[in-house]
Symmetry: C2
Subunit: 148 residues, 2 copies
Amino acid sequence: MQLTLHADYAFRVLIYLGSHPDRPVVSTEEISRSYGISRHHLVRVVQTLSDHGYVKLSPGRLGGVSLACVTHSIRLGDVLRHVEPNLRIVECFDIKTNTCPIISVCGLKSVLGEALDAFVKTLDQYTLDDLLHRRKRTALAKLFAANS
Amino acid sequence: MQLTLHADYAFRVLIYLGSHPDRPVVSTEEISRSYGISRHHLVRVVQTLSDHGYVKLSPGRLGGVSLACVTHSIRLGDVLRHVEPNLRIVECFDIKTNTCPIISVCGLKSVLGEALDAFVKTLDQYTLDDLLHRRKRTALAKLFAANS
């Protein structure tokens, strides 16, 4: 049980942008280089974040990406709901593709659904700001500078 | 974010065995046929369940698999902890293979760890017996009989 890279990278982008509040825009190339991850994949992640209003995209040579909202308004549970393309814990969560023959009487789906709900609601208790309180923000900015 | 097939199938094996309390042993072939899933994979799942004391294996032509404990003693959270080979929600959960450079100061890991804990603790509130109360057990047995 693991988040997709799409969701993992979405959190990383938000953390990167939140660690650089003084920068008007940051390029996806800079973010991908800092984390050592695929820029190609990151571009798609940034597009998803933009589609859901978490970031703004500025075109052009000096363009890039910036946070579209204040960090304390970005709830981590909401981010997960928007950017994780697969929250089907087991195949019967998608009745269109399900092949398990006992779906109509099985009690496991509702129990796993309750567990997934507890997972996401835990994340709802935190915002991006909680990941970036003053000391963490400074330490993150230093680490990113060392990797750039 | 999805359970591995190994964990998914482990729950299915327990549900199958719990739905047939009158049968001393059941063959893996019968279980795989009922669910329409790979017997090869199921044999490995059954071995994992045996390693953790959930089922007993009986060798020989008339052998098979049976529950090793009463259904109300099998907590679903424990099953998940034992049979899910990957509870690393993001790569930094495994510091041996982690490549993310901000692991030392990132706050996301602990928040995701808390969410994972909430997920598993929700499952801890249920036992195999909860998935098999009288009406469900009967309906499941009928469905399995129709698929055999």
